[in-house]
């Protein structure tokens, strides 16, 4: 019936570790190739452009620090998405949860408490985490209770939260002094300290590294990590085998949303010092690409976060220098996700020759 010489068949064995490490690298390479086509259409030499991106992001101490600043929220949203995806809670809503976290941190700052700085920061972190978590728990609850698709709800809740933040900064929290649509500057007492002088690298980097470490311990050592993995692999079997599936999905959503919320906390308290609408260039969505490229593994998430931070910083620098539009970084991100998703099929399937 079929006279094809090659067929795509399901793999018998799981591919080797080397192959699994190679996959993201291959997909980066292919996506850069595909992006080159767009660059050529825009009449730009792709090799120069790509080299320009990397030099722009890593060429000097200043630019390297800038890349780290960009990596902070991406690591957090990437970790957030990876944790949720591990339990098959498809959290597309890291963007909205990040805004929720930012809202929480700003609220803490506007309280203008006179408590020691470390406690004030910790307080803001906790509130930001809880708000982000709560914003993710809502779709998780809808999924469990009414079987509402989590992809749709988490995605749509992004826009709701982004507009809530806009409404607040245009309304009640509008800065009375400048009358700009942004909150008043937050008190010095809650602002993240800078680590390296003359740079913008703030202590948010520790928060993000800590969350990757937590992710690592969660998956490798903790009971909860095992439960997330079990539920993520099969809800039906997990339920039969006595796991409390609803509770586990809710906890997964809370942790995921909470960590995404921390991205918002650290952007506001580490970088902007006041709440402003549209402060994120889509870090929540970048987190999805990062999590997929990082194969939902802690180390992978960390590495791919730095990769995308490099692309984003580099394309900004390059656009100033050579006039290439900044959107090239979005193009590369999008293409990488598509390529990675297609290439992931090769962990499940292989091409075999038939006689």
């Amino acid at each position: 019936m079929f006279n094809l010489k090659y067929k795509i068949v399901k793999r018998e064995k799981t591919p080797s570790v080397y192959f699994q490490i190679l996959l993201p690298l291959i997909s980066i390479f292919i996506s850069l190739l595909i992006s080159s086509i767009f660059l050529i259409i825009a009449k730009i030499n792709p090799i120069n452009a790509i080299i320009g991106i990397f030099i722009g992001a890593l060429g000097s101490k200043f630019s390297f620090f800038e890349t780290i600043v960009k990596a902070i929220p991406i690591i957090l949203t990437g970790t957030a998405v990876a944790i949720a995806f591990n339990s098959r809670f498809f959290n597309i809503g890291a963007e909205g949860q990040m805004y929720a976290g930012a809202l929480g941190a700003t609220w803490c700052g506007l309280l203008n408490l006179s408590i020691p700085k470390p406690f004030y920061i910790l307080f803001a972190i906790i509130i930001g985490f809880l708000l982000g978590g709560a914003w993710a728990t809502l779709p998780a609850y809808l999924k469990i209770k009414f079987k509402v698709d989590d992809v749709v709800t988490t995605l749509l809740l992004n826009f709701i939260m982004i507009y809530i933040v806009s409404a607040i900064v245009y309304g009640p929290w509008r800065d009375p002094v400048s009358n700009w649509p942004q909150s008043p500057n937050l008190p010095e007492n809650i602002i993240f300290p800078i680590i390296f002088p003359k740079s913008r690298v703030h202590i948010g980097i520790f928060i993000s590294l800590f969350s990757v470490l937590f992710f690592y311990i969660l998956t490798k050592k903790m009971k909860l990590g095992f439960e997330l993995k079990a539920v993520g692999s099969s809800e039906k079997a997990s339920n039969f085998l006595g796991l409390n599936v609803s509770k586990i999905i809710i906890i997964s959503a809370m942790i995921s949303g909470g960590i995404a919320g921390l991205a918002g906390v650290s952007e506001i308290l580490g970088l902007h010092y006041h709440l402003v609408d549209n402060f994120s260039p889509g870090y929540g969505y970048t987190g999805i690409v990062v999590a997929m490229l990082g194969r939902l593994e802690p180390i992978g998430v960390l590495l791919s976060s730095f990769f995308f931070a490099t692309i984003i910083t580099g394309s900004q620098v390059m656009s100033r220098v050579s006039g290439v539009n900044v959107y090239i970084s979005d193009v590369i991100q999008g293409i990488t996700l598509l390529v990675m998703l297609s290439i992931l099929l090769f962990t499940e399937f292989e091409i075999r020759r038939f006689k």
Binding site: M1, V9, E12, K13, T14, K221, M222, K223, L224, F226, K229, A230, S233, S234, K236, A237, S238, N239, F240, L241, G242, L243, N244, R352, K355
Partner: protein
Amino acid sequence: MTNIENNVLLKGIKKRFPGVNANDGIDFYAKKGEIVSLLGENGAGKTTLMKILYGLYTKDSGEIYIKGRKVEINSPKDAIDLGIGMVHQHFTLVNPFTVAENIILGLKSNKLIISIETVKEKIKNYMEKYQIYINPDVKIRELSVGEKQKVEILKILFRDIDILILDEPTAVLTPQEVNELFKTLKILKEEGKTIIFISHKLYEVLEISDRIVVLRNGKVSGERDPKRTNKKELATLMVGKEVFDVISLTSSKEKDTVIELKDINALSYRGHVALKNVSFNIKGGEIVGLAGVSGNGQKELEEIISGIKKPFKGKIYFKNIDITNKSPKERINFRIGRIPEDRMELGLILDLSVFENLIVECYDKNNFSNKVFLNYKYILNYSKNLIDEFDIKTPNLFVKTKTLSGGNLQKCILARILSMNPEFVLAAQPTRGLDVGATEFIHRKLLELRDKGRGVLLISEDLDEILNLSDRILVIYNGEIMGEAKRGELSKEQIGLMMTGSKKEELHV
């Protein structure tokens, strides 16, 4: 062998699937007016060989001769054109259509409009001729499994075939239905048709065949005349070593009731009543077998005892504690062991590693974990011991469970359940699809449980399994318990009658 009177002749058929030689140079023939049985364990290559003959698989090498002519069969259409028909294990009927509609579906016709009355007339002739009786106006979904099979057979006979392949046709039938089927097969044989009968049930093969061909590991391991062989010899040819049926003889002393069902009524997922006033109890030290044709409420009963379905009326008690509304976790904590029918979807999480599946019901207990962290050292050691004790064949503890074979998957479930020292075990279709070795292992473990004073509920479609193991037999039909019998109280035929809806009182014992 290349005789012209051989309706079917297969020479040196080879077919390789990833990792296995399903058919490794098989020679096979079947004459006109002959019933040939293909006997072998699951995975011996019987179905593969027949799917090649029917055009569902393409052979890697070898030759096929039909009625003395060399042919290439590339699709079922080719096969049907050559006069070959096959009844599959899984039916290929359209549920909302009537019997008659299903029979003519896909039939070649020169006419644009088919008169259903003429068709029905023709179907009636076939029914008379082959003694297969079924109302042609009934919709398929209203038929029982055995009746559906009759439609399948009629459908194929309607295509004027000379060679009929039946793939494990008796697996879903009651003893009475098996007898009816055999009667039909004998008529077909008299008529000069060639019948190839695939089975792994020895006594059936001995009863119906003119010749028995045994396959093992993709090769022909022997050919026997049923008049000059016996079950033991055939079993040895099938497995490659001598095997013994595990039969429980000692009726052990009874203890207190472990599980009691009172007036259980439940709906199926489609919303009709699947269980009606089901009441029974199981004591420690006995195996109770639940016999019945599949789809008569066994699935719902299994789910209710497992804790993933709630009855709308009635109660379940475990040692006099009402567990009707207890979660699966609470039932596990009561040490109720559950071997689900659907071992791939429910019993195991196939994407997790082997050791994770071995602890998934007890990872939250002392030693395995504290409040937050798992104790991997203890867990790995524990899993290692289980793998040794239950002889689970796996390259290591960390491979994904889905890479294991069927028998080893079931051993994983068994190891996990038995290691928690269960008070009661629900075993639903525990040996379905397993080879003889794994089946024997599981039977022995169930008997060990009983001898240790634990209660076992064995739900099985395989009546022989039930008869061999059970101390007490319950028969379910259409969601109702038809009656209960002690070991040896009723004959196989009597139980068969109960499986098709006769109450025990109506049997005139």
